[in-house]
């Protein structure tokens, strides 16, 4: 801590281009179990009109840092130390930015203000505004959008009701909300996720803030919607000239958005600097580990190497390690040094700072300058080489799909799931929501089929039909095992289904709500065994222990309850439950979407290992295209209940045939800051078509940039276009669509 005082000048001076300087911020939560130092000496700067991305795993204090800036940390948390120097734009009596006093900004230390003071409240929502992750829960469900926006204006500015309403409508229009006059009176639940987040942004921008704090604003959204929102934020930033503090755990988003990056770990900033150099030349082992654990779109993902993961997990807040907070997960840990000394921030250049003892000038000099030098070299070499060659023996038969050679396990033919819409006094059926509408595909034994599409495309409904938790309204689900005759699962009911319930299992998205909190792991994992009369008593216990070991948990955990485990561990429990009956087919519905990058990599590796070990077949449902590419042999792209394209993973990603696939691929943020300006993005406008009232002809034509008149009239059928690709587009042959293969070379980090 002694070095801290050297870093912090005594007077609140800010460099001319700095809007907010966070210095040695400390936010603590005195809880019954102990003092939680959620933010413990974090420091970074936000430059005027620039974007700072704060990245790190969950539990590293990113959100608490953001909330500390506004002094809205939930009780009992409190900012207990440090400085938050903010350059406040002068405002006139009405509360608007005063052009006459331009350049005469006041510098305020927000940490010195009381959270409830009028001065602090005046800054919130006016000078510094904030948007949140889940726009559905962050907006009040019972107040209209307009009411909630106008409220901000009235809080900070002296304007008439009429004027406030006009301004709210104006800003709604600016953020791309269609028909803002009507939306003004809408409730949040009447809008789609993307529109809700736009409304949230409008609410934040309505008083022209100089700093916008965005806490995971796109995490809950689809890739395509995410691309729209990111695009919007970039546009608005240049219009309004505001700075953005963007919190995310997605390094792809960082690469798209950031000017500067701060990597947070356990309440401190492990490394910060401009985005270029952090991505090209990461100095902290944590940054490097994070960059390694992302499956890369278009990269050598198809080689199916095991993903690099960070050892262990974020320590729980009561047992934070001494010395360098990262030392117990660090591959380059120096025993006797890293576990004792808290690394001071070391400046490496303009805006560049790292907190790692490998870079400590004193240590380097005492070691004859070898440690640091060797290490930096090591780091660049580490990145320059392709991901480490820890290739898993691929039982699925390598990446080249030889689906014909394998026997077909599941044949889905013309699957339909229609929900009736009942209206009027007598509840007559007046239409159908076509959740799944004529789906045909096959899954071979031992392969992994990916099912992708935006939310509302019917992916989950398809999965649920296959595990028969929904009753399909049409079509066949033919299941074959070991060459035995096919059984149509769609026709079976009740007890007839029981044997197939063992063979077809499901892994759920949310590991928090899919495990009964009142059951121990023994009961959770053992329940299917007991229900099918497979095992009981000590035999059951042995089996559960074995399953726990299989998924990388200790058998001793058996009598614990789910709440004792982290998200990643709970997902392992969910996987163990799915595997308990030795299934043939596992439907994984967004199984890794709720997890952090590093944990996600661990789970993906686990899924791969288990597939090899137990000869599993996966139907992997996801909206995350990078994960799908990493894990799947073939990919089916769904749009409004239909498959629009089905192809081998490599082919699909290199050369998509359907414009929808192209748009999806284009929307994925690439974790390389250098490609962002060169890349032409296809931003899909609007939302997924309404499955109860789909457009005429090709369902995708209203959003398709290649649409021709015939697309609105005639519905394209799925047809084979060679390369093992089937596609439903009239112009599949004519169009030359861009995949991600050409970007692959630029995605992998090249040596300096």
């Amino acid at each position: 801590m002694a070095t801290e005082t050297v870093q912090t000048p005594a007077t609140p001076e800010l460099a001319a281009d700095v809007l907010l300087s966070v210095r040695n911020l400390q936010t603590h939560f005195p809880l019954d179990q102990g003092l939680v130092k959620a933010v413990d000496g974090a420091g970074f700067e936000i430059r005027r009109g620039k974007t700072l991305c704060v990245v790190g795993e969950s539990g590293c204090g990113k959100s608490v840092t953001a909330r500390s800036i506004l002094q809205i940390v939930d009780r009992p948390g409190r900012v207990v130390g440090g400085e938050l120097l903010f350059r406040q734009t002068p405002r006139n009596d009405d509360g608007r930015p005063d052009a006459a006093q331009h350049g005469q900004e006041r510098i305020v230390d927000l940490a010195k203000l009381s959270p409830k003071s009028a001065a602090m409240r005046a800054i919130r929502g006016r000078d510094i505004a904030m948007i949140f992750q889940e726009p559905m829960t962050s907006l009040s469900p019972v107040h209209t959008i307009g009411n909630q926006i106008v409220e901000v204006i009235h809080l900070h500015e002296n304007v008439s009701k009429k004027e406030a309403k006009e301004r709210a409508i104006e800003v709604l229009r600016r953020v791309g909300v269609p028909r803002p006059e009507q939306r003004f009176d809408s409730h949040p639940f009447q809008l789609s996720g993307g529109l809700r987040q736009r409304a949230m942004i409008a609410m934040a921008l309505v008083c022209n803030p100089t700093l916008l704090i965005a806490d995971e604003p796109t995490t809950a959204l689809d890739v395509t919607t995410q691309a729209q929102i990111l695009e919007l934020m970039r546009e608005l930033q240049s219009d309004y000239g505001m700075a953005i503090m963007f919190i995310t755990h997605d390094l792809g988003v960082v690469a798209e958005m950031a000017d500067d990056v701060a990597v947070m770990y356990l309440g401190t900033v492990a490394e910060r600097g401009d985005v270029e150099s952090v991505f090209r030349d990461p100095q902290h082992p944590y940054t490097r580990a994070l960059l390694h654990s992302i499956p890369k779109v278009g990269a050598a993902a198809r080689a199916r190497e095991k993903l690099d993961t960070i050892r262990g997990m974020v320590p729980d807040p009561y047992n934070r390690p001494g010395g360098c907070p990262f030392h117990n997960r660090c591959d380059e840990m120096m025993p006797g040094v890293c576990d004792r000394i808290l690394p001071p921030p070391t400046t490496l250049g303009e805006h560049r700072e790292v907190r790692c003892l490998l870079h400590d000038p004193e240590l380097i000099s005492s070691n004859g300058g070898t440690v640091g030098a060797a290490e930096t070299e090591d780091a660049s070499r580490d990145l320059a080489t392709e991901p480490r060659p820890t290739v898993v023996p691929d039982a699925a038969g390598g990446s080249t799909p030889d689906g014909d050679a394998r026997s077909t396990l599941l044949d889905v033919e013309d699957l339909r799931l229609h929900f009736p819409i009942r209206t009027g006094f007598l509840r007559r059926t007046t239409g159908h929501v076509r959740a799944v509408d004529g789906l045909t595909f096959a899954i071979s034994e031992g392969e992994t089929l990916g099912l992708v599409g935006e939310s509302g495309c019917g992916k989950t409904s398809t999965g649920r039909c296959i595990v028969r938790s929904h009753d399909p309204t049409g079509g066949r689900i033919l299941y074959r095992e070991n060459g035995s005759p096919a059984v149509d699962l769609a026709q079976l009911a009740g007890p007839e289904l029981k044997p197939y319930r063992r063979a077809v299992r499901m892994i759920f998205q949310d590991p928090h709500s899919s495990l009964n909190p009142r059951m121990t792991l023994r009961d959770i994992i053992g329940e299917p065994l007991r229900a099918h009369g497979v095992a009981s008593g000590s035999e059951l216990e042995d089996r559960v222990g074995e399953l726990l070991r299989d998924v990388g948990l200790r058998p001793e955990y058996m009598s614990r309850y789910p709440h004792a485990f982290s998200g990643g561990e709970r997902q392992r429990v969910g996987i163990a439950r799915a595997l308990s009956l030795d299934p043939r087919l596992v439907v994984a519905d967004e199984a890794v979407s709720a997890l952090d990058v590093s944990v996600r990599a661990q789970i993906l590796n686990l899924l791969q290992d288990l597939q090899a070990e137990h000869q599993l077949t996966y139907l992997f449902i996801s909206h995350d295209l990078s994960v799908v590419e990493y894990l799947c042999d073939r990919v089916a792209v769904m749009y409004v209940g239909k498959i629009v394209e089905l192809a081998d993973t490599a082919t699909l990603y290199a050369r998509p045939r359907h414009p929808y696939t192209e748009a999806l691929l284009s929307a994925v943020p690439k974790p390389d800051p250098r490609t962002r300006d060169r890349r032409e993005r296809i931003v899909l406008s609007g939302d997924v078509a309404d499955p109860s009232d789909p457009p005429s002809g090709c369902y995708f034509h209203p959003r398709c940039r290649y649409a021709k008149p015939v697309c609105a009239e005639e519905q394209p059928q799925l047809r084979d276009v060679g390369d093992g690709t089937t596609v439903a587009c009239h112009f599949a042959e004519e169009l030359t669509l861009r995949g991600v293969a050409d970007g692959a070379s630029t995605v992998t980090t090249t040596p300096k």
């Binding site: 506004l70 919130r124 949140f132 009040s140 019972v142 409220e151 639940f189 009027g424």
Partner: protein, 333 residues
């Protein structure tokens, strides 16, 4: 929305039919009927009732008819002429007995509910916002005392205080001089002077549980993200709490507002007996004891109707106050 209400009202008809049938059936279940109770009561007083009189009465009231015939007489008269029949015991039409008491009961119910909510929402909000503070513990303590104290005991205490220190006539809802007087300002004032005791008694028990429910609801809502959003806008703490979390924490109360109607008609019987209130509770109790079946049946039917109307009212209210409900309804069409 209108079709929704219309459908709900239509669905009430078969429900009401079943309720009336069930209630009539249950009243008939105990052995004997009003006449045998009556005869037993008379013989207990050593006054023999002639067998002929009993038979004449039996015929007059149709008590010798089978169950469904009796039910038919009763229900058809209610539906076509609004005639609830004759109370055996009081020898007066049931409707003349019920309506007066029902009005007073409703008045008492509404006033005490509003009072309960006013007190409980304020205290509940305070204890949730200041969770685990001294104030929270104090009010929690008071609340549990209120829950644990038998209502009749509190009624007796308050009656004594009112008599000893304010010199008021106690019991009932009116002073003797106003008892049968026509309505006037004086009578209304007198009513309110008497009403505070039952209101406080009923509200104490109700408020105690309502405080706990409000506190728990609000604790859930206080940590919702929209509260943080409002705080990030720069709103004052008390304003944002009143506008957002409190508003949402009220929903469960609105959805149960319908239940307060029937409980207040049939409930609080002991308090009413102790305080000698001219409400429906004691009358219902008495009619059940004496197997005065038309009176009891009418009461139970009334309770059924009130429950249904109450539920419908709270559903409509909730749909109006919480737009998500209407949307879900529209969504699940």
């Amino acid at each position: 929305m209108l079709t929704y209400i219309a459908r709900r009202v239509l669905m009430m008809i078969p429900t009401l039919f079943l309720i009336s049938l069930a209630s009539f059936f249950i009243i008939q279940l105990p052995p004997g009927d009003f006449l045998s109770t009556y005869a037993a009561g008379m013989s207990a007083q050593n006054a023999e009732v002639a067998q002929e009189t009993l038979e004449a009465l039996e015929q007059r009231y149709g008590l010798d008819q089978p169950f469904y015939v009796q039910y038919w007489y009763w229900i058809s008269n209610i539906v076509c002429c609004g005639d609830f029949g004759q109370s055996f015991e009081w020898n007066r039409p049931v409707s003349s007995l019920i309506w007066d008491r029902l009005t007073l009961t409703m008045l008492l119910a509404i006033v005490s509910t509003l009072f309960t909510w006013f007190v409980a929402f304020l205290i509940g909000t305070y204890t949730a916002v200041r969770q685990y503070s001294v104030g929270d513990y104090f009010w929690t303590f008071v609340g549990f005392i209120g829950l644990a104290t038998p209502n009749f005991l509190l009624a007796l205490v308050l009656m004594w205080i009112s008599f000893r220190y304010f010199g008021q006539s106690v019991g009932g809802l009116f002073s003797p001089e106003y008892e049968s007087a026509p309505w006037s300002i004086g009578k209304a004032v007198d009513l309110f002077q008497h009403m505070w005791i039952p209101v406080v008694v009923i509200a104490t028990a109700g408020a105690a549980s309502t405080i706990r429910v409000m506190r728990a609801n609000l604790l859930d809502e206080l940590h919702r993200p929209y509260t943080t959003t409002a705080r990030a806008k720069g709103m004052q703490e008390w304003r944002l709490i009143a506008k957002y979390p409190v508003r949402l924490a009220l929903n469960p109360f609105i959805s149960t507002v319908g239940w307060t109607l029937p409980t207040l008609v049939s409930g609080e019987i002991i308090v009413s007996v102790v305080l000698n209130l001219p409400t429906t509770g004691p009358l219902l109790l008495r009619s059940l004891e004496s197997q005065d079946m038309y009176l009891a049946g009418s009461f139970i039917l009334m309770l059924g109707v009130l429950t249904l109307i109450g539920t419908l009212l709270s559903d409509i209210l909730l749909a109006w106050l919480d737009p998500r409900i209407q949307y879900e309804k529209a969504g699940s069409r």
